[in-house]
Symmetry: C2
Subunit: 230 residues, 2 copies
């Protein structure tokens, strides 16, 4: 108990918080083993990592708030802040299944952040084909491909559709989904989807019939995706 209360780390002792941190427990800090995550205090506005930068570290946010922003979306200004992480959240875990960071992470206030290198995590989490690691990677992979779909939320309907088509159907044939479902995924009504498809079709970017969509002109789609209006 007394040991737990130690507020400043002892010369060689780990911070008390590690004894109650899930990562510290997993690392066996209580058994005097080292945790791969090293703590650091950050002030407001600190950039932990940038979107697109090669991923070298994974972060664990012990205390504070971190905003995740992503360029793609836009609207006014540059990036869209699409999530705020709190104490207890992992940041940048996507690099376990993806080369680069998918977001830019900025602290919103003073925060305590623990960082671990990709390699140390790689060694720490055990053999590549272990069950837990396999599930971790499957889960991260799904998550990575899912978040960008947030494109559902921002931008005008025709543009969202163009972006979705580029994501899903660059090769020509989008997945065979009922248009109702596509509309729901894109966060619009079937009627609106229908009109957006008609607009892209009349721009020559795609060919539509009652049940199929074919991409004809990827460049035209890119143009629509690019310049806001349509």
């Amino acid at each position: 108990m007394t040991a737990l209360r130690t507020s400043a780390p002892q010369r060689h002792g780990p911070p008390a918080r590690c004894l109650v941190c899930p990562l510290g427990k997993a690392a066996g800090v209580a058994q005097h083993r080292a945790c791969p995550f090293a703590p650091r205090e950050r002030t407001a506005g600190a950039r932990l990592y940038f979107e697109g930068e090669p991923g070298t570290k994974i972060y664990y946010l012990w205390r504070g708030q971190v905003a995740l922003t992503r360029a793609g979306g836009d609207a006014r200004g540059a990036g869209v802040t699409w999530a705020v992480r709190r104490g207890g959240d992992l940041l940048g875990a996507e690099i376990l299944v993806h080369e680069q960071y998918l977001d830019t992470a900025v602290t919103l206030g003073s925060s305590t952040v623990c960082a671990a290198s990709r390699e140390s995590i790689d060694a720490w989490i055990g053999p590549p084909e272990s069950p837990a690691r396999t599930l971790l990677q499957l889960s991260l992979r799904t998550r990575c491909s899912e978040v960008p779909r947030r494109s559902g939320a921002d931008g005008k309907a025709t543009r969202r559709l163009a972006r979705w088509l580029l994501d899903e159907a660059a090769d020509g044939a989008p997945p065979k989904l009922p248009k109702q479902v596509i509309a729901a995924l894109l966060g619009m009504l079937p009627e609106t989807l229908s009109r957006a498809l008609a607009r892209l079709a009349s721009a020559g970017a795609i060919a539509v019939d009652r049940r199929t969509i074919r991409v004809i002109d990827v460049e035209a789609l890119r143009r629509v995706e690019g310049d806001g209006d349509a």
Copy 2:
């Protein structure tokens, strides 16, 4: 090679696909060990699980498409389809960190789905405090709390705001975030947020000043969240 081509499973042999499936590999099917996931063919429209139902199984989608829908959002009809999973995706993994399923999963076409009970997975992924398992749980936890925020996309601005406040600030004080950030999270412009706040304030649900928001009347917020208009 010849063995791999075997299209129908041998009397006691596992399906050939298990040898190339990440889960099969993790389970060591090649070494004649059993995979906790049992395959099953499903036809279009099959319900794998329902939102809110106690979570008993985790699914791995080998082939096909599955729509995930969630009630909350609404608009016309009942649930919103917010994602479509493809072959190679895990379904229902949220039950490792949450009692109930968070979505309803429906196959969109004929699919091959492997299922494993929560207990078998629990045993399979090893000791509760192993590093990989800890990361898996952290990552799932974040994901679970994040997806509902898709509330960003649907519903009218005032309603989204009410829902967000209920999520984040049921205890009275929402996290101290710049209003710009809140607006981005909710997928609206600062101007719109300002107006939405003003509307809730004049309804007596919250108190707003230039830099803080306080929840006054949780019930009033619930009412706004409930009935679409505001």
